[in-house]
């Protein structure tokens, strides 16, 4: 009953694809124009305070976009808008060019192919690592199908593969609550991968990690680059430098886009320097 089936990422189409008119729309997310996410003029106000102020942003297919900004710049609110947790006061948010996120609830958005990792790692602590991944796995998530669900070999193989990617193979049977902080963060990324999302939203994936764990997370994200479109919100500048490479970095400030470009470009921007270091 899944309303949206994911179409595998096609590198040939990443540059925009062929524009045609009057084509039959695909059942899943339509990314033929080369963008996976469009935010247009999003404003969110909480009792008059504008957490987001006319924010416009788009993310290309297969892109790894880093978003930085000082506290209160609206980074988490932006994630909330994309995942349906917060409704924008005005503006539109589209997934691909055919899915209006305003019409869907959190579960439907997740089902459509947007996965989110929260700032604080939230895994199901009483469940084993294996069960956490099993629950997240892309499947029909209706009540009846879930009650009668059976795990096939191909499912177990997929879980094994993800366990390997996030380096938790030996912890599969442990309750997730007993993992270290860094391992929980990886498990959460693993849970995202199990959902086979088109777009991954990662909110401060290395917050509270040791240097070794941070480095390992960077490697992990680099492995995923190109397979998924990713948006990474991060405070840690060294980490952003490590994963951004030559890709685009967006700087948010007071609910809007302050600057956009490569990390080198952004770092030399006078306004960015002022916002970050000026005071």
């Amino acid at each position: 009953m899944s309303r949206f089936t994911s179409t595998p990422f096609d590198p040939d189409r990443s540059s925009g694809g062929t524009v045609s008119y009057g084509r039959i729309s695909a059942p899943g997310v339509d990314t033929t124009h080369g963008a996976i996410l469009y935010l247009d003029g999003i404003t969110v106000s909480f009792d008059g305070f504008k957490a987001l102020n006319n924010l416009s942003l788009d993310i290309g297919v297969g892109e790894l976009r880093c978003i930085i900004g000082p506290n209160g710049a609206g980074k988490t609110t932006m994630m909330d808008v994309i995942t349906g947790k917060t409704r924008p006061t005005s503006g539109t948010a589209f997934f691909g060019q055919n899915i209006d996120l305003a019409l869907l609830n959190e579960a439907q958005i997740a089902d459509a192919g947007i996965g989110r990792k929260f700032q604080r790692p939230t895994v199901f602590e009483a469940h084993s690592v294996f069960d956490n991944l099993m629950l997240a796995m892309k499947a029909n998530k209706g009540v009846r199908r879930t009650l009668f669900a059976r795990l096939g070999t191909e499912h177990i193989d997929r879980i094994a593969q993800t366990l390997q990617t996030i380096r938790l193979t030996h912890e599969a049977a442990r309750p997730a609550g007993r993992l270290s902080h860094g391992q929980k963060q990886w498990l959460e990324i693993g849970m995202l991968l199990m959902q086979e999302p088109q777009l991954l939203l990662l909110d401060e994936p290395v917050a509270g990690m040791t240097d070794a764990e941070t480095a390992r997370t960077g490697e992990l994200l680099n492995e995923l680059r190109g397979k998924h479109s990713m948006v990474v919100v991060e405070h840690d500048m060294d980490f952003v430098t490590q994963i951004a490479g030559t890709g685009k970095v967006t700087v948010l400030h007071e609910g809007g886009v302050l600057a956009e470009g490569s990390m080198r470009h952004v770092q030399s921007d006078a306004r960015v320097i002022e916002v970050y270091l000026g005071r």
């Binding site: 959190e106 939230t122 294996f130 009650l147 669900a149 070999t153 177990i156």
Partner: protein, 370 residues
């Protein structure tokens, strides 16, 4: 190597072979009790009194209600303080059937409370209740439909935690007030009593009591297996995920509404069946069963036995009610203090209840051996 490991992890048995054996042995032992009552002379050392048989029959109804409550509270984290309502509704539905057979030979006779109101005919909702099949359908349908509707609006509005608990408490209290009215058509504060016949059999005869006992035992065992198969399924993992982090579950693509409604309705139906089995065995149902105190006691049974264990609530219901039976005989005025104290002690020192205690002792023993 890892694949084998994972396959083992993914396979979830209903019960371990040892648990199956224990379940079978316990069931058979309990099933022998009415036989010891029917076949042995009162002087025989193994004789079981009729009082004991009906008492244990009653406890099994409570155990079934506690099992139902554990499904929603222990697994999905939904604390209901109003399960007494579903229990009572199941009881009333079955009671209606029993009230239609009040004559000497089980023939129909207007119940006294209706003639007292000078009603000429049964109200519309008593229609067809002279047929056992229809009454039994109501036993399942009335608590089920009420729970579904109430749950739909409560869960859709994302009412959770203590707010939900308070509303369930208010619901059962409101129903109690409604059933206290004579005009509601359920016998007012006297409720239903003085039953004579069930399916044509004399309801007070030892063999009928034995049959009711066995049916209750069967219902309890089947409910345990059903509940276990639900909690061992993937849906069971989803329920626990709702308990631990509902919002997180939304972001991996599950809508908790349907899952909560499913387990809530299933629980209400099981509780209604428990009530229906309770009424012919104790011979009375009145609005007192809907009092908030009864629902709170159910929660204490579950907590004492160990929530989220299924077997715990059964143990808890038997233990607490055994204590209650003894205490209300020996020191009737102190029972409520003891009950309160028990709840405090269990909450402070035995958060996993009796079953949790046994498990941790067993684990420590294993640790010493290894």
């Amino acid at each position: 190597m890892n694949t084998i490991d994972l396959t083992a992890l993914s396979r979830r048995r209903l019960f371990s072979p040892r648990a199956w054996t224990a379940l079978l042995v316990c069931t058979l032992l309990i099933a022998c009790l009415p036989l010891a009552n029917l076949l042995l002379e009162p002087a025989h050392p193994l004789y079981v009194s009729s009082y004991a048989v009906s008492l244990i029959g009653k406890f099994m109804c409570f155990a079934l209600a506690a099992l139902a409550l554990d499904l929603v509270w222990g697994y999905a984290g939904i604390l209901s303080l109003g399960h007494g309502l579903f229990f009572a509704l199941g009881g009333y539905a079955h009671g209606m059937y029993l009230m239609r057979h009040l004559g000497e030979q089980g023939e129909s006779r207007m119940p006294g409370f209706m003639t007292f109101l000078s009603w000429q005919d049964y109200p519309w909702f008593w229609a067809f209740t002279e047929y056992a099949a229809w009454a039994w359908f109501l036993v399942v349908a009335v608590p089920g439909v009420l729970a579904f509707l109430f749950g739909y609006f409560a869960f859709r509005s994302r009412i959770k935690g203590v707010y939900f608990s308070i509303i369930t408490q208010a619901l059962t209290y409101a129903a109690m007030l409604l059933f206290f009215r004579n005009e509601t058509g359920f016998g007012g504060n006297n409720g239903f009593t003085a039953f004579r016949r069930i399916l044509g059999f004399d309801i007070t005869s030892p063999s009928t009591r034995a049959a009711l006992f066995w049916v209750t035992l069967l219902a309890l065992v089947l409910a345990l297996i059903l509940a276990r198969s639900v909690t061992q399924s993937k849906l069971g993992r989803v329920l626990m995920a709702i308990r631990d982090s509902e919002s997180r579950l939304r972001f991996i693509g599950y809508d908790p509404l349907g899952f909560k409604l499913f387990v809530w309705t299933l629980s209400a139906v099981l509780c209604g069946i428990a009530g229906a089995l309770y009424v012919p065995q104790v011979g009375i149902i009145n609005p007192g069963e809907m009092s908030p105190q009864n629902s709170i006691e159910m929660v204490i049974w579950v907590a004492t036995g160990g929530r989220g264990t299924l077997i715990g609530p059964i143990v808890g219901a038997a233990t607490v009610n055994g204590l209650k039976t003894w205490f209300t005989g020996a020191f009737p005025e102190y029972w409520l203090y003891v009950l309160g104290l028990l709840f405090v002690l269990v909450t402070l020192f035995l958060p996993q209840g009796i079953v949790g205690l046994i498990r941790s002792v067993a684990q420590r023993k294993k640790g010493v051996d290894a």
